[in-house]
């Protein structure tokens, strides 16, 4: 849960970008880091292995101003998407307040998306959290690949595969181009901070 410091009147909110490997989670954060540079005082932290894959997580702190007299510090994290790094994913999920699930629109990745979402659900359960009542936004990334002639899943198919029961807000996006990256982030921040409003009163 979010940490509220009543002395400094500050709230720290943890938002995690989850999803299959090479789906564009880090690219989302890199785009946000570039686009909102003025509001980000610290450098983005990233722990990578050889080959530019996320080993541990990326971390980007972000000030979004004040709500009910409290300054809100949003901390964006990504998890490593590769299947073998599940222990690390669980570590990063600790204390999560809001989630973005970044799905890969490529045809070939259909199964991986479903498996990763299932893995998220299971990992949340180890913290006694349910995917059905945590703030969540889905992002269908890599829509730009269609222009290059690479087969991609329709958003209807993605909705059916991933969102038929969750009914979370969703965005078709391209993290590389920046399409709907900010919209996804704004939505998850609004949902997460909204869920805290009562606590701040």
């Amino acid at each position: 849960m979010a940490l509220i410091n009543p002395k400094k009147k500050e709230v720290q909110v943890k938002i995690v970008y989850y999803g299959p490997g090479r789906g564009g989670k880090t690219t989302n954060l890199e785009y946000i880091n570039k686009k909102f540079k003025k509001r980000i005082q610290n450098e983005m932290v990233t722990v990578k292995t050889y080959g530019d894959r996320t080993l541990f997580f990326d971390f980007l702190p972000f000030d979004i101003g004040e709500i009910k007299g409290h300054s809100i510090k949003v901390q964006l994290y990504t998890v490593p998407g590769q299947v073998k790094y599940n222990a690390t994913r669980r570590l990063v999920l600790r204390g999560v307040d809001g989630l973005v699930f970044v799905a890969d629109s490529m045809d070939l990745r259909r199964e991986m998306n479903i498996r990763s979402l299932q893995n998220l659900k299971e990992n949340l359960e180890t913290f006694n959290k349910s995917i059905f009542n945590i703030p969540l936004v889905l992002q269908y990334n890599k829509r730009d690949l269609e222009e290059e002639g690479i087969p991609i899943l329709s958003t209807d198919t993605l909705q059916r595969d991933l969102n038929s029961r969750l009914k979370a807000p969703s965005f078709a996006a391209s993290a590389v181009k920046g399409d709907n990256v900010a919209a996804t982030m704004k939505k998850i921040i609004a949902l997460t901070v909204g869920s805290l409003r009562k606590k701040l009163e």
Partner: protein, 130 residues
């Protein structure tokens, strides 16, 4: 289990006083009381340096988690104390209670033995408050 300790203003002030007396006055550069989600609960600096404490806390939480997983593999519950030595600055981590860590950043002017003693004292005093 998820983490849900809440602090009121008075608790935070008392913790700040303890950390000031036991550690900052000793010559420590920076202390961070944080949870394992990577949130900064209290941060005090001696004024000589300023670190990116939010990133430090995020990485420290990950680091602590990773080392605890290593501990489990060799049959230990956890390693409750970690220390990273640098040429000029070093970092000392110590568990306060379940899910709370105290991070201390100090330079060559502070001896590790004395620091450990003072950290232990500070932790004992903080445990009473929470």
């Amino acid at each position: 289990m998820d983490f849900t300790i809440e602090f009121d203003k008075q608790q935070i002030e008392s913790i700040e006083n303890i950390l000031q007396e036991e550690l900052i006055d000793l010559g420590v550069q920076s202390v961070i009381l944080m949870d394992l989600a990577g949130n900064v609960i209290v941060n005090l600096e001696n004024g000589d340096s300023s670190h990116d404490v939010y990133s430090l806390a995020a990485l420290a939480a990950g680091n602590y988690g990773a080392v605890s997983a290593m501990a489990n593999i060799i049959g230990e519950q956890e390693f409750s104390l970690l220390f990273h030595k640098g040429e000029e600055e070093s970092i000392h981590f110590s568990k306060v209670v379940e899910d709370l860590l105290l991070l201390t950043i100090f330079n060559k002017n502070v001896s590790l033995g004395f620091l450990r003693l003072k950290v232990a004292e500070a932790i004992k005093r903080i445990q009473v408050l929470i």
